[in-house]
Structure formats: C-alpha cells, structure tokens
C-alpha cells in the first residue's frame, strides 16, 4: 500500500486503516464528510493537510517517518493541539473505560481486589503526571523556541524513558489479566478489556513515535537554527 495522498478520498483512507477514525476527533473533524478528498476536508476544517496526512501515514506505515525537510515545515501549533487532544482522549475516554471493566473484574477477584485497583489507579496517575509534565514543559517550550527565544532551557531529555515505562506497565496489566488471574473470574470481561488495552497500547506507541521522531526532532532543528543566528 502506498502512502496516503492529499487527493485521496478521506473515506478511502479510513477504509484502508480503520484505526485512523481516531484522528478525526483529535483534529476536530466531524463525521459526514461524504465523498470529499482529504485536502478538502482539512481545508474546510482549517487544518494543515500536510500534518494530517503525515500523522495518518505514521499511524499506518511502520516504515514511514517524515524527512527532516517535512518536519521543518510542520505547523507546530496544530501538532501541539493534536497531541493535547490525544492526551485528553487517552485519559478521559480510554483509561476511564478500561477502569470500568477493571472494577467489575476486581469485584470478583476476592482479596486481590484492592491491589488490582491500586495497580490501575497508580498507572493512571503516572500517565496523568507524564502528560501534564509534557503539557507544562514541552508545549510552552515549543512556543518559546518558535518565537526564537533562546533563554528557555531545553527540556527534551527523559521523554523516551517515560514513554517506555508507560507502555511496559500496560503490558504488565495485560499479563496479569490474561495469564495470571484465576480462569473463573469474568473471562468474557477480561477478553473484552484485553482488546481495549491492546488498542490503547498500539495507539500510545504511535503517539510516542510522533513525539520522539517528529516533535523532538522539530524542536532540535529550531534550537540549532536559533543558536546560529
């Protein structure tokens, strides 16, 4: 399959990778777009078509990463809004949903219940802390670097490590739910939440790639350019 192009119908892109439906609310694109092309939908919604397609391509093709030239031209404010919307989606929708499933499972897990709930709430808090630290440090940093302000200290380290942690814990949770909880505890519920966690984990992995391979290189390019002036 070739990379998605601006003249392709949005509906066709979504058909090729149904996962991309998740992009729409994050870009504030409504449903009901009919036969419109990707670029038409983006223009109507005042979104950078380049950025939209770049992210759709990163989500869909594991081999694809944009070139330095493409990264340099990014609409950074749109990217920031997208990342922020993703954070909100993970926290308020996915993790809340998974939490409801887990409460039901924990209810049947006897003495393990408090520990299981604690594991998840600790995890949720860790994710919350990570997102809010990105929003409080990196996002304002984007604005100061794009305004050629050299005074702000670089804050780009540690992002990767934190991402690895967040995804590892999620896989621990799957291991516990599928491999180690007693077989008689709500098997259907556990299978269902397994899909939710697998989906979230995939989504988070791509989200990390966007931050590590697009956002941070973008900032490094700007840092370098600023220091030359």
């Amino acid at each position: 399959m070739a990379l998605f192009q601006r003249n392709q119908k949005l509906a066709d892109i979504l058909n090729d990778n149904p996962q991309l439906i998740l992009m729409l609310p994050r870009f504030d694109i409504g449903l009901g777009f009919g036969e419109k092309k990707a670029k038409e939908v983006c223009e109507e919604n005042h979104i950078s078509t380049d950025l939209f397609l770049m992210l759709c391509n990163v989500y869909t093709f594991d081999y694809y990463l944009p070139s330095e030239e493409e990264i340099r031209k990014i609409d950074s404010e749109a990217l920031m809004n997208y990342l922020k919307a993703s954070h909100d989606y993970y926290l308020t929708q996915r993790l809340t949903h998974i939490g409801h499933h887990l409460e039901k499972i924990a209810e049947q897990a006897g003495q393990i219940k408090p520990m299981l709930l604690k594991f998840f709430s600790d995890y949720k808090n860790e994710v919350k802390r990570h997102f809010s630290s990105e929003e409080k440090t990196i996002f304002p940093y984007i604005q100061s670097v794009t305004k050629q302000n050299n005074n702000a200290p670089s804050c780009l380290n540690n992002v990767e490590k934190s991402h690895v942690n967040i995804n590892n814990k999620l896989s621990e949770l799957t291991n516990i739910l599928i491999k180690y909880l007693s077989p008689d505890i709500l098997p259907n519920e556990r299978i269902s939440v397994w899909f939710d966690i697998a989906q979230l984990s995939k989504d988070l992995a791509k989200h990390s790639i966007i931050e590590e391979k697009i956002l941070i290189p973008y900032l490094r390019i700007l840092e370098k350019e600023n220091s030359h002036e």
Binding site: Q111, I112, M115, F119, K169, E172, I176, Y180, L181, S182
Partner: protein, 191 residues
C-alpha cells in the same frame, strides 16, 4: 545429565588451577579449555556448554560486544562471571550467573548446574519460576531492597539483580506493584 563442557577464561594461574581442581572433582564436569584472554578461543567456545569468564579480561566498554560475540559463536552456551576483583554494577548486570571468590565447592557446582539448565536452549522450555526466584519475587513484593534481599537470602546483590532479570523475562512483569499482584494471584503472598 549430559557431560558439561566448560571453557574457563581466567588470567590468574592460581585461580584457574583452583577452579580446575574444583570442577574436576565432579564427574560430569569437564574443562575443555583454559585461556588467559578472550581472544583465540573460538574453536573451544563452539564446543562449550558453559563459559566461565572473568570480567577482568574485558574492558567495561567492550563487555556488551564480547558477550554478544560469545553468544553468536555458541547460542546454547551459558556465560558465568567469575567475580574475583571489584567490577562495577554496569559490568556485572550483564551476567545472570556469578561465581564469587568466596563461594565453596558445592555452591560453585550448583551455579554451574543452574547456568547449564537455564542455558539459552532451555530458556523457552521452562518459564516457571525456580524456588529461588520465587523467594526473591516475594521479597521484592514485600518491598525489600536488593541489599536487604541479598542479606536475607545470603546471596550477593549481583545475584539478586540477576534473579530479578530472569523473573521479568519469564513472567513479563517488572514493576513492584505488578510483581506484588503476580505473587498474590499465584498464592505466593497473602493479600
């Protein structure tokens, strides 16, 4: 158990001879080669079941590539560190099995046996935790530090770290809350 072929890489003649005496006291252990250095041993490494390596023969920076090369030469062989001088945690963390200068004969032999059975060949066949690993797991779940666990079980900190690594690679859980949950769901720990 099949005969276990051992390659020993140890620069000190005294220690190498001592190890030879100890290992030859056991019928099915056989030292097929002793070398003072890491080079020129390929042909012996191919035949080895266990490689006992003193980390001193390799610089810290070359440790990763050395171990990688040994594994490439012989995927089935396990590597045991022979820990005679101070080495940083950065070096020792690469070893699952460690023989200390203070170990007595039975414990040296036990370590070789356990390295032999947890050799790469058998790793995928048996992912159940060993009794020792379960003890370490429970101690971690109870919130003990590596140092406290080492003291409680009378093993070195390096060995504790090696056990923790094995536990994680077997059950796919690394965090303390995750290990605690595992211990509870498997009846190793009272909730």
């Amino acid at each position: 158990m099949n005969k276990c072929n051992i390659v020993l890489i140890e620069p000190s003649h005294i220690i190498a001879e001592g190890m030879r005496r100890i290992l030859e006291s056991v019928n099915d252990l056989s030292i097929i080669h002793v070398s003072e250095r890491i080079t020129g041993i390929d042909v012996h490494v191919h035949k080895a079941d266990v490689i006992i390596l003193n980390p001193r023969v390799v610089t810290e920076g070359e440790m990763v590539s050395t171990l990688h090369n040994l594994r490439k030469m012989n995927e089935q062989a396990s590597v045991i560190a022979l820990h005679t001088h101070y080495e940083s945690t950065n070096v020792m963390k690469h070893f699952e099995h460690i023989i200390e200068l203070g170990n007595d004969t039975p414990s040296i032999i036990e370590k070789i046996r356990s390295a032999q059975t947890t050799g790469n060949e058998n790793k995928t066949e048996n992912d159940d935790l060993s009794i020792r690993e379960k003890e370490v797991l429970v101690a971690v779940a109870k919130g003990l530090t590596n140092k406290e666990i080492a003291e409680a079980l009378n093993i070195s900190i390096h060995t504790v770290i090696a056990h923790r690594k094995n536990i994680t690679s077997k059950i796919g859980i690394k965090s303390i809350p995750g290990l605690t949950l595992y211990a509870m769901t498997n009846g190793l720990l009272e909730p």
